[in-house]
Amino acid sequence: MKKMFGLLAIVALCLAAKPVVAHHALQAEFDTAKRGEFTGTLTKFALINPHCRWFFEVKKADGTVAKWEITGAGPGALRANGMTRLFASGQTLKVTYAPARDGSNTGRVVTFTFPDGRTVTMYHEDPNNPNDL
């Protein structure tokens, strides 16, 4: 647990890191006023520039499987702190996200919830800031 605690601290650093090159406004791609949610199987965690990516398979009510791509922040601090192995293929995660404006199965992560109930929330607005949404 202690180890996990440390890991999460490091994830925090990674997620706060800012992508450098292809930086763009979230609002141009995602509707940050809306939220979507699914529980799916992580098929791949991609540690790439300019944004980390999480790929999921999500079983739908009709039994078919939908593929989802979730984006986050840059990989810099995550790597610098030895936290690149926190997310692993095969994990079942609940994902809350800001949906893509183009209606595709993509989103900007707000929260990952692990099976043991831990949550990793990563977003650009401060819920405790009265000036935020």
Partner: protein, 300 residues
């Protein structure tokens, strides 16, 4: 003419700024450098400048970095919340509708990128093109699509290794290096005709400043985020001056094909990394996956 150009620049900046409300992180390549805190900066500059055996300032070292730290921490249950605590609009602004654009337009670094007072002055026939590139940066900006930023947009290197005849420049971004002869030789007639992202560079000492002359560019890279194009006849002069444990980098772009006057870029002063054990990290490949999903022209 000059006045007209200035007015054009201001008009572009203003027009673009209208839809931009927030400033998040500015891309490293284009951002104006954060000035070093005055007192600490002065302290760093008062240290004697190290010199090599031949008497020139020794530019070797890791430059920049060393800051940071802190950040969000998980709570006692191991739950972690990471947020960016920047927000341009007050509730009042939102209530009266002034913040409505924030949802649809960028709330990002665009203001910083476009509103700087120091910008290249383009010939009139390029105004439309520059505006087009700026407006369509999501599709047009080579750096957005993971291509090199090129000289001089890439800024100063993160590490320098100086020998009597060469300056080896290492960049953390894209695992990139440049090796520049500093023995005073002229440009190679063949290499200087090449069309590349970093150009053919030769350096020489002018007093305590290393002056690097660069030609042989392609016309694909940009000078900066707001669609600042250049021709393949661009000529860049980079100057490196070490004062104590600070390094000042300054670049001037001369491109008579497209500019009415040289673009003298703002100098950037960076500090020697105080961590003697600091090392480079392999930079991971860049994969652009957002452009197809972005529904506005604005990118931040």
């Amino acid at each position: 003419m000059r006045q007209k150009l200035v007015r054009f620049g201001i008009a572009v900046a203003s027009a673009m700024a209208i839809s931009l409300v927030t400033i998040h992180a500015a891309p490293q390549y284009d951002a104006a450098p954060a000035p070093a805190p005055q007192a600490a900066g002065a302290q760093q500059q008062n240290i004697p400048t190290p010199r090599t055996a031949d008497g020139h300032p020794d530019l070797s070292g890791m430059w920049g970095g060393g800051g940071g730290g802190g950040g969000d921490k998980p709570d006692e249950k191991g739950n972690l919340t990471v947020v960016f605590k920047q927000r341009p609009c007050s509730q009042q602004q939102r209530d009266i509708g002034e913040c409505a654009q924030a949802v649809n337009f960028e709330r990002d670094s665009g203001v910083e990128q476009r509103a700087g007072a120091n910008m290249p002055m383009y010939k009139a026939e390029y105004w439309e093109r520059v505006q087009y590139l700026d407006r369509n940066g999501i599709q047009e900006d080579p750096a957005f699509h993971c291509k090199p930023a090129g000289v001089p947009r890439m800024g100063p290197p993160a590490k320098l290794v100086q020998t009597a005849t060469e300056l080896i420049m290492l960049y953390q971004q894209n695992n990139l290096f440049r090796i520049v002869p500093i023995d005073g030789r002229p440009h190679d007639p063949i290499k200087s005709q090449d069309t590349t992202w970093y150009g053919d560079a030769v350096g020489k000492w002018e007093g305590d400043t290393l002056v690097i002359d660069i030609v042989g560019f392609n016309d694909e890279s940009w000078l900066g985020w707001p669609g600042w194009l250049h021709s393949n006849n661009m000529h860049v002069v980079e100057k490196y001056t070490r004062t104590g444990n600070t390094l000042t980098w300054q670049a001037t772009v001369d491109d008579p094909d497209v500019l009415t006057q040289p673009f003298v870029m703002n100098p950037r002063t960076i500090r020697l990394n105080p961590n003697a054990k600091a090392t480079f990290q392999e930079d991971l490949p860049c994969e652009e996956r957002d452009a197809v999903h972005i529904v506005t022209h604005e990118r931040g």
